[in-house]
Subunit: 91 residues, 2 copies
C-alpha cells in the first residue's frame, strides 16, 4: 500500500467584501479557519490543484490570495499564537 | 566557520485598528510585507525570539497574531499568488 504524505497549506487572502463569504465557505471544505482571512491544514496534491482552480475563478483583479504550500506538516517547526486563539471553524 | 541556516517565518494578524500601524512598522524591520496583514521572510532564531517578545507586548486581548515558523525556506515547496501580487514593502 503506497502511503501518500499530505502537503500542508496556509491560505491568506485580502479580497473585496462582496467575495469574502464565497471564499470563506469554499475554503472551509478543505482547511481550518484560524483567523479572519487565514486558513490552514493538510491537503492532498489533487485537492490543492482543484482548490487553486476554483479560487482562481472567484478572485477579482484587485483581490490578493496567497497559498503557501509546505512539503508536509513536519516543515512547520512552530506555530506561535499571540492574543486570542480564534478557532473560527465553528462560526 | 559555523554556517547558520535561517528559519522562514510567515506572520498573519487580525488586530484592532488602533494597533495596526505600530505592528506593521515593527514587522517591516524584520520581514517583507506581502499582503495587508501578512509578512514573511527569513529570520534568525534570536531575531524571532526578540520579534515575538515585542509583538507580545503590543497585542491586545481581542487581537490575534500567528507566527508560522518553517525550518528553512526550502520547506516552502510553493507559493501560489492569485489576483494582485501586492508588494507592500514600498508603501
Amino acid at each position: 500500500m503506497q502511503y501518500k504524505i499530505n502537503m500542508y497549506a496556509i491560505v491568506v487572502y485580502d479580497v473585496n467584501v462582496s467575495r469574502q463569504n464565497q471564499i470563506r465557505e469554499f475554503l472551509r471544505k478543505y482547511l481550518y479557519h484560524v483567523q479572519r482571512s487565514v486558513f490552514e491544514g493538510e491537503i492532498s496534491p489533487s485537492s490543492l490543484y482543484y482548490m487553486k482552480k476554483i479560487l482562481q475563478s472567484y478572485i477579482g483583479e484587485t483581490d490578493s490570495l496567497i497559498i503557501y504550500v509546505l512539503r508536509d506538516k513536519s516543515c512547520l517547526m512552530d506555530k506561535i499564537v499571540l492574543g486570542e486563539d480564534k478557532d473560527l471553524q465553528i462560526y
